[in-house]
């Protein structure tokens, strides 16, 4: 009898192990906190193969041994990682029926950004299937991409349909051991995009410009993987200028880019998440790891970012310049207002010969915010003829904010030519007076001056995005003067 009971128990345990957890899989939400079961739950929800689960578990176990980084110039109460939900299915809330039911403040912002009415409705979460046939538009684009062999799908779909590509590249740029937040992401990521551009193909459209509505449910732990095969080109847009609210306070995304020989990837971001209220309460904590690997010769990766949202931004889109003659670029506008804290910059790691990089960072601080540029230019001993140009400009508005520039240069090759320029300025009373004497009100004047300050970076954005971004710059700084 004892033996039988033992067997039953063992079988029971095996059964339990097979499903991996004792939680109800039909539930929309993983239980509170983060355990191995949570990881298994997410993996099962996504119908993932065993190797993917193992990959996640390995990351999870490693994460348990890691410490939260504290070197950034940001302050926030200690995060209780066990007091958070790591997976929630998209909520089916009662959708508003018309724009009349939407917060007028939000509508005002949409209007200022010049977002078309139809998109306003979608952004506000109104069910618009009847008025806007988005499905057919998406289908048309998908067919167009298919014709040239471009794969563009959710990462979870790619895990199923293109396992060889995913296994080959996932974690090859940002390994699961990379840093506390990247490791956390590897364990629990649930959404994200996968892009593969085949050899010699120039992607026929800006990816995600039209997807921005359909795919705008920005995940808490997004993971994006983009691969540009030999001689290909792709421009990818992430985010949205419209303000986005999210109940999840902690965000930790990972983006990995791989550029093979002669390939080019252009990655643009506009981030406008909830920054918290006037007293600095609430707001998103945004801990992102973005890295591009210029793996092939003559490859090029270019990051452009406009960061205006989030209570805390911790983000350093970087380039590993591995291939000879490869080139990395980082163009950034980081605006902080209210109580926002930004610690952002880039890393350019020169490993190959004749590699070059360019960093243009524009930080604008207003209100009581803190804005730090932190960047590293590293040159390997064997990397001959390296060139880097860095320009960090900070603009202060008012006298309660701060700007910091922390550039690191580690050159092990004496032949490298590294240039660094930095300026800090304030919007002068004279400039404001001059603009207002011509009829602009104070906010228009500030927006114009700040847009001028950011011009070098705004020019890097795809055209239609740039127009919205310009308006966003003005809106982000509303109420910052006077």
């Amino acid at each position: 009898m004892v033996a039988i009971r033992e067997t039953v128990q063992t079988v029971g345990e095996v059964e339990k192990y097979k499903y991996g957890f004792s939680t109800d899989i039909e539930s929309d939400k993983a239980p509170l906190g983060l355990t191995e079961d949570t990881v298994r739950f997410i993996s099962a929800k996504k119908n993932e193969p065993e190797w993917m689960l193992e990959w996640r578990l390995e990351a999870y176990r490693r994460w348990l041994t890691m410490e939260e980084p504290t070197w950034a110039k940001v302050e926030y109460p200690k995060i209780d990682f066990q007091d958070a939900y790591y997976y929630a299915a998209p909520k089916q809330t009662v959708a508003p029926k018309s724009l009349d039911e939407i917060d007028p403040k939000l509508l005002e912002t949409y209007k200022k950004l010049g977002i078309p009415l139809i998109e306003q409705q979608m952004l506000a979460g109104i069910a618009v299937d009847a008025v806007f046939d988005s499905v057919s538009v998406v289908t048309t684009f998908k067919e167009k991409l298919k014709e040239v062999g471009v794969i563009f799908c959710p990462l979870s779909e790619a895990v199923r349909d293109h396992p060889d590509l995913v296994r080959k590249y996932l974690g090859s740029v940002v390994p699961t051991s990379d840093n506390f937040y990247a490791t956390l992401n590897a364990a629990v990521f649930s959404e994200g995009s996968f892009v593969y551009i085949p050899e010699g193909v120039r992607c026929p459209m800006e990816l995600s410009t039209y997807f921005r509505i359909n795919e705008r449910q920005t995940g808490q732990f997004e993971r994006t993987l983009i691969i540009a095969d030999k001689g290909s080109y792709v421009s990818y847009l992430e985010g949205c200028t419209a303000p986005q609210r999210d109940e999840n306070q902690l965000h930790a995304a990972v983006v990995e880019l791989v550029a093979h020989d002669d390939a080019e990837i252009k990655y643009s971001t506009v981030q406008n998440w909830y920054p918290g209220d006037e007293d600095g309460k609430g707001g998103i904590y945004n801990f992102v790891t973005k890295r591009g690997d210029c793996r092939g010769v003559n490859s090029k990766i270019s990051w452009t970012q406009v960061e205006t949202g989030s209570a805390i931004t911790w983000k350093y889109p970087s380039c590993i310049l591995r291939g000879d003659n490869s080139r990395g670029e980082f163009y950034s506008i980081a605006i902080s207002n209210g109580h926002q804290q930004v610690d952002s910059g880039t890393k350019m790691i020169h490993l190959g010969k004749n590699t070059s990089s360019r960093i243009i960072s524009k930080g604008i601080s207003a209100g009581k915010s803190s804005n730090t540029y932190r960047g590293l230019v590293g040159v390997h001993r064997k990397a001959e003829n390296v060139r880097n140009f860095t320009q960090c400009d900070s603009l202060l508005i008012g006298s309660h904010c701060s700007a910091h520039t922390v550039p690191y240069i580690e050159s092990k090759n004496p032949g490298a030519i590294l240039e660094h320029e930095a300026t800090t300025s304030k919007i002068s009373d004279e400039q404001l007076f001059y603009c207002r004497q011509r009829g602009m009100d104070e906010e228009e004047a500030v927006a114009l001056i700040v847009n001028g300050f950011c011009r070098d970076v705004l020019q890097q954005l795809p055209m239609e995005f740039a127009v919205e971004a310009q308006k966003l710059v003005g809106i982000s700084l509303e109420g910052s003067v006077g």
Binding site: D429, Y434, Q437, R438, G439, D441, L448, F453
Partner: protein, 249 residues
């Protein structure tokens, strides 16, 4: 158009204007001359509403309104324009973009329709041509790296585009050679009209050979000490400001 009564203005603890009376009717061009430190620039700033100047006594009415109660941009939108002695650099903002933003701000304030890019471009080109301002210059950041002549021509272009009712020209001749001065003066003269008044502030009589005023005031020690016709300017050229209790400069 403009009436200034017994205006006293201090900057910090120092009284700069000590009882100014000035009446300018529509269509008139008044020159205000005076030695350095007489308060000429202060007068231009107090009219345009710059911070840091305190009116301790007196009043300014513009088109029947209390000008001192209006903000800087309200005054601009009501038609007060100041051509700066030292125009301010706005890095990264093209002259074209600046002009468009300014013009549309004023149109919006007046309840008029904003101009689209095409109509604006046509308008600005027609105004730029007589001032020898090329498309190339319009694409450069406003006043950044402009020569003295370019800056003053850009100021004149703004005035021509914004069509103010009261234009204040603060030392417009400073930093200009004779050829540039002529171009600017021609531009200003083209804007003279029965509806538009101008205040031309200058140290030297030279500018007034080209922009001939209806009335000349001499400002010294914060007061208007003499008022006359255009011949007063020539007189001053001979005698200097010494008789008004200031050092000849």
């Amino acid at each position: 158009m403009l009436e200034v009564k017994n205006l006293h203005v201090t900057v910090g603890d120092k009284e700069i204007l000590r009882g100014i009376d000035l009446k300018i009717d529509a269509g008139e061009v008044h020159a205000i001359m005076g030695p350095n430190g007489s308060g000429k620039s202060t007068l231009s700033y107090i009219l345009s509403g710059r911070d840091g100047y305190e009116v301790t006594e007196g009043s300014i009415t513009f088109k029947g309104q209390d000008l001192l109660a209006m903000s800087i941009d309200e005054r601009a939108n009501a038609g007060v324009f100041l051509a700066f002695q030292y125009p301010i650099e706005i890095p990264g903002v093209t002259t074209m973009n600046f002009l468009k933003t300014a013009l549309n701000a004023q149109r919006k304030a007046r309840g008029e329709e904003e101009l689209d890019a095409v109509r604006f471009l046509k308008l600005v080109r027609s105004k730029a041509k007589p001032l020898n301002i090329s498309d190339d210059m319009l694409k450069r950041a406003l006043n950044v790296g402009f020569s003295g002549g370019e800056k003053k021509r850009a100021e004149t272009l703004q005035m021509s585009l914004l069509e103010p009712q009261l234009a204040i020209l603060d030392e417009t001749d400073s930093g200009l050679d004779i050829d540039a001065l002529k171009v600017v003066a021609d531009g200003v003269n083209a804007l003279r009209s029965p509806e538009r008044s101008m205040i031309v502030i200058t140290h030297y009589q030279r500018l007034l050979d080209y922009i001939v005023p209806d009335v000349v005031h001499v400002l010294s020690g914060g007061r208007i000490v003499k008022t006359g016709g255009k011949e007063l300017a020539q007189e001053l050229e001979q005698t200097g400001y010494a008789e008004f209790g200031a050092d000849a400069a």
